[in-house]
């Protein structure tokens, strides 16, 4: 039986960050993370805790995507609520939101597997763990990550080029 406290302490933060990046919603990410940990605690044994947690969390996200429209409405409510708590200047908030939206759009342009591999890697999962979580061969993880990184950077660059073009014209 694994130690619940230790499991939470070691993996909650990276898992929530992974999910937040994946979902774009902190509260939603917390929900999914919580569900993931609950499921983990029901397991008698976890051979690779981190890979298991990220795999389950990823699957939960995929399930949740089916309820996306409902979630979108929820997200809008959360955003409105969050906006009300903002203490930063409107300009800063707007720019930050714009930056975030741009990153989000770029990320969404990636294939799902590429996106998940990239986000997992950013959370420190090694190639074996990523391969296990996504059903890839270990040897293909490098190629997957290379493709994901390149496309992400290019997507942002393209987005910026369009922005510059619009502002110039």
């Amino acid at each position: 039986m694994h130690d619940a406290d230790r499991l939470f302490r070691d993996y909650h933060v990276p898992l929530v960050r992974y999910l937040t990046r994946r979902l774009g919603d902190r509260d939603w990410a917390e929900e999914v993370a919580q569900e993931t940990f609950l499921r983990a605690l029901r397991q008698r044994e976890l051979s690779n805790e981190r890979a298991w947690l990220f795999t389950v969390a990823t699957n939960l996200v995929r399930d949740a995507a089916r309820q996306e429209s409902r979630r979108r409405r929820h997200l809008e409510l959360l955003r409105a609520e969050e906006a009300g708590r903002m203490v930063e200047s409107p300009a800063t908030a707007m720019e930050r939101a714009e930056e975030r939206a741009q990153a989000r759009r770029a990320l969404e342009q990636l294939a799902e597997r590429d996106r998940e591999a990239l986000l997992m890697r950013e959370e420190g999962l090694n190639y074996e763990e990523i391969a296990a979580a996504l059903g890839l061969s270990v040897g293909s993880v490098g190629t997957t990550l290379a493709r994901a990184r390149r496309r992400l950077v290019e997507a942002v660059e393209q987005s910026d080029s369009q922005s510059v073009g619009q502002s110039d014209s």
Partner: protein, 399 residues
């Protein structure tokens, strides 16, 4: 050994290869200019992607965790290889640095009027590195930096794993973001240029040209103990302050090196494999050069509303010239067109920093530079060798 594929390079940089394979890759990258360029490009992509993703972190400071412990640290490659890669990736790092400019993580500590800003120790070290790079120059060249308040008031830089929020000014964030994305492909452009040159001119492969330039720079690096005591002491004092936070946000091994690159005092490879030309317009990679110039502009814009005043001091074009043409260049002022306005600069020799005795053209700007048109550069008959490095320097001084 055939050329390295992109997946292998990323796996290597991620520390995912076994010891034997990693050594093989490292050896090949050190010997093959084309693959060295690919490695540099990959480093840039890794850093760039990481920075982009950090923009998604709409979370509180407490949520930024330590790196996962399982990430293996890759043994660092030979210095020359690392520096080549560093130079080629610097444009991307500039971009990623800009992305978090004004967005300090939880470790940020106010330093001498800097209300927000990340990693003072890293900044101090970066400053020292910058000084080191030009240490081979006469005192008149770098003395202004050593005696400047900029020594103790540091320029911000963004660690690839640090994300947070800023209460600082928002001026120029949009521009920074655009600059960041633009600069994010500088390494890629440089790498492509290098690859093209390598294919076109086997006798002067890209990596070799870059290595020559790097070797020249490395050759003038002094022993660190000879650095100014004040800068060193500042770095040491701030290092302890920064240590815990840095440890808590330890990035991937390859990014750790990149993460130390400052936003200011930046060195951007313009055309590491540029073929020699005589007179006329140097074939400087436009994106790289424009990107470099925009760095300075961005610094100026982003800090002017704060307690600090940022000044773009100069853009230094390191031209690896031939000695004969250097004489001619010394005699005449250099001109550069900035947004259609002619700006006059002066030559300053840095000594024999290049294979054929390089000179530096130092242009001092009294106003922010938003764009440099490479085609407008008139090298005054300078015969340009294989190396062109663009350096943008700026000071941030307390008001």
């Amino acid at each position: 050994m055939k050329h390295l594929d992109e997946g292998t390079i990323h796996a290597w940089l991620d520390g995912a290869l076994g010891a034997g394979e990693a050594a093989e890759v490292e050896r090949h990258a050190a010997e093959c200019g084309e693959c060295a360029a690919r490695v540099a490009e990959a480093r840039g992509l890794i850093a760039g992607a990481s920075r982009i993703l950090s923009a998604l972190d709409d979370v509180g400071a407490e949520i930024v965790p330590a790196r996962a412990p399982e990430v293996k640290r890759k043994r660092r490659g030979p210095r020359a290889t690392r520096v080549v890669a560093w130079l080629a990736a610097a444009g991307v790092v500039v971009a990623v640095g800009l992305r978090t400019r004004g967005r300090p993580g939880p470790e940020s500590t106010p330093v001498r009027g800097v209300s927000t800003g990340p990693s003072p120790a890293g900044i101090a070290e970066s400053l020292i590195d910058s000084i080191e790079v030009i240490k081979g120059a006469p005192a008149s060249t770098y003395g202004a930096y050593l005696g400047s308040p900029a020594i103790s008031v540091k320029v911000a830089q963004g660690d690839s794993q640090r994300a947070g929020r800023s209460d600082g000014p928002s001026v120029g964030r949009t521009e920074r973001r655009q600059t960041a994305a633009k600069s994010a492909t500088v390494a890629a452009e440089a790498a492509k240029t290098a690859r093209s040159a390598a294919a076109a001119a086997p006798s002067a492969p890209a990596g070799e040209s870059a290595r020559r330039g790097v070797a020249a720079n490395v050759a003038v690096l002094p022993d660190s103990t000879t650095l100014p005591a004040r800068a060193r002491a500042t770095a040491e004092a701030l290092k302890a302050q920064d240590a815990m936070a840095t440890a808590a946000a330890e990035p991937h091994a390859p990014s750790a090196e990149l993460g130390r690159v400052p936003m200011c005092f930046e060195e951007v490879p313009a055309a590491p494999a540029m073929a020699p030309v005589t007179g006329g317009v140097p074939r400087v990679a436009p994106k790289a050069m424009a990107g470099a110039a925009r760095v300075g502009a961005d610094v100026a814009a982003s800090t002017s509303a704060d307690q600090l005043d940022a000044r773009l001091v100069s853009t230094v074009l390191m031209l690896d010239s031939t000695p004969a043409s250097a004489v001619a260049a010394d005699a005449r002022p250099a001109r550069l067109l900035l947004n259609g306005d002619a700006v006059t600069g002066e030559w300053q020799r840095l000594g024999a920093t290049g294979a054929s005795g390089g000179d530096s053209l130092v242009l001092r700007f009294g106003r922010p530079v938003t764009r440099v048109l490479p085609a407008a550069l008139t090298p005054n008959g300078l015969k340009i060798g294989a190396r062109v490095l663009v350096r943008v320097r700026c000071e941030i001084v307390k008001r």
